[in-house]
Symmetry: C2
Subunit: 369 residues, 2 copies
């Protein structure tokens, strides 16, 4: 006699309380929801490169399709070696991941037991919290200090205890766009042996990359991505700089074949495409200048940004009411309530071309002025 | 005064004991090691499709490159919907993963706390053990019964206790190639509420796929892949059938954007390429017939296979000594000690074209006869 099976009782308790990930909206989704011709929809919600992808990368990707019946390099060695060469790193290993998300999952695998703690500084990228929760660890939140959204170093250090394993930092921070002060990052690194993870997804838009710091601070791990300036979000590839003393363990625990052949090939070639990078940087720089001027003129509050996006402060309006209105006009931006405390009144807008930025500004004025 | 940082003390204890994943050897690797022209190396070690990839899939993949600056669908909905339609599933959800490995990691995320147990039946695919260990859970081994490598149902059921969360089955089994008896799988499903994961990576080569069983057994999860018959190993895409009662939780915990745009597009088109599948099946069928005949003639022991590979029994020789000799001749096969107890004397050979099979047989005869 077969009893009725309830497979749910095998679920971990932590899983029962999760909600679906709040992703940026897609053109497909908005086209259906608001009955808008997809061609007329402008997506400036996910900080993708509106200029497309590096053509060099695409050419390499296309060639790589000829051999996708074969498994990829098990740990993306060619790409890792190229990056080590570029950054002239001695005591630092490089590991590629299936997007930077996979780097977070690897950090969780390496460092987080059930019951451990991580420190997260909201408003910031929500995936640090997810990786923490999935591991059965507990995120401890130390909000960025207003009005500049800088690190609350004193409180971060105060929250460190025996259970703490990883401190997640993001610079330039997503979604506020500002870079963290180097002296603050340094102060944290000088004060603790805990893993300090620094997300540099947007560093190519203006920051000095801190890869070399890993030589000096073996507890520093840096995450990077090909999804932003390189325009390869759809291929899923990111990477990490990690001190050799940890690298061995990372290598022993890495998911085999985690990055596709096509993504590895594209990334290797993208690194050589200085022209595409410069073109993108120039567009983003001009775009931010335009936004700063026009937002100021319109009396809309905003945060200065070192990334390829700009966050406007919609208070007293909720960010969501603003993004909803923009969506009805066929413009996808990102409201930031999913980025944690302090995100409810922020709307993140990816810098686009001159025409795209103008279109966004026109609608913003209609909403705010 | 800065003390010397030892970041390693943050590592989880389980990570300290892991060894690097034993992947099948690549052509690149062997070319360097044995100084052989890569063009002369035959790779029949990783059960890839020697006929290449579905051309329909490659065409779709190429087109998808035009939009890789944009993030992929967050949970591969188009592919999932297509698979649901093909299999006419009512109470079953479909989830795509970054290769089937990502499905294992998701199972671990959903079900495994530190200290839990899984049941694994060696010799079999080593990634079940890895996913278990990474979660801080403990693999309990119940070896397949010799000489037929069938499930030891009685012992599997005996090992189930409060800590048991997942029972990993593989049919056709990797590396032995035989299908598990349906009545054994059923007996396990009828006797327990624990999650039963069935790896059907090779099912397209002869098995009846069991997707419909998930309707009846909500604790059954089935894994599938595009890496084998579809020839898309380099793109990293697999998927799972899971009962809707668990699907909600899977959806809430899935890594966002885990499958690349290119892989999603290729997979959707590959499903329509019946011609490529039939051509592959025919080649594999003829190839196995050839091997059976020739191996018998040569007095080399082997196991009958329902997959696209064949395992030969090298006893009293170690499998490794045989694969090493083949490698010196430019032929990559797979010795199976990494597949757990019982794998030391097995060598797994992917079925190739007529000419490829002949080349392998010639060298095997030189070694054994």
């Amino acid at each position: 006699m077969k009893k009725k099976i309830d497979a749910r009782k095998n679920l971990r308790r932590i899983i029962l309380n999760l909600h679906q990930y709040t992703a940026g909206r897609s053109i497909q989704e908005i086209a259906v929801k608001y009955k808008i011709d997809p061609k007329k929809i402008l997506k400036v919600g996910s900080n993708e490169n509106v200029l497309g992808s590096s053509q060099k990368a695409l050419k390499a990707a296309k060639n790589a399709l000829d051999r996708v019946n074969i498994y990829p390099q098990v740990a993306s060695d060619d790409l890792a070696n190229k990056l080590k060469k570029i950054y002239k790193l001695k005591h630092v290993d490089v590991f590629a991941g299936n997007g930077m998300d996979h780097i977070f999952e690897m950090l969780a695998r390496l460092f987080l037991n059930n019951g451990d703690e991580t420190i997260i500084c909201p408003p910031t990228f929500s995936c640090y919290e997810l990786a923490t929760l999935w591991s059965g660890a507990k995120p401890i939140f130390v909000p960025l200090l207003k009005p500049d959204y800088q690190l609350d170093v004193k409180n971060i250090l105060k929250k460190i205890n025996k259970k703490t394993k990883i401190i997640f930092l993001c610079s330039p921070n997503n979604p506020t766009g500002n870079s963290m002060k180097l002296r603050d990052i340094k102060a944290i690194l000088e004060s603790t042996d805990k893993i300090v993870f620094l997300d540099e997804a947007y560093t190519e838009f203006g920051n000095r990359p801190l890869a070399r710091w890993v030589d000096k601070y073996p507890n520093l791990v840096i995450g990077r991505t090909f999804s932003k300036i390189y325009g390869l979000a759809g291929l899923r590839i990111g990477y990490a700089f990690m001190h050799k003393s940890l690298g061995t363990y990372y290598k022993n625990s890495i998911t085999p074949f985690v990055v596709s052949t096509v993504a590895q090939a594209a990334a290797i070639s993208a690194l050589d495409d200085k022209e595409f990078l410069n073109k993108t940087r120039k567009m983003v720089k001009l775009g931010k200048k335009y936004y700063y001027k026009e937002l100021k003129k319109a009396g809309i509050k905003f945060l200065s940004s070192n990334a390829n996006f700009i966050a406007i402060n919609t208070a007293p309006l909720k960010g969501k009411s603003v993004t909803d209105k923009l969506m009805q006009k066929g413009i996808i931006t990102r409201e930031c309530s999913a980025f944690g405390k302090g995100g409810e009144n922020l709307v993140r807008i990816t810098i686009g071309t001159k025409e795209q930025n103008k279109r966004v500004m026109k609608e913003l004025k209609d909403i705010f002025v």
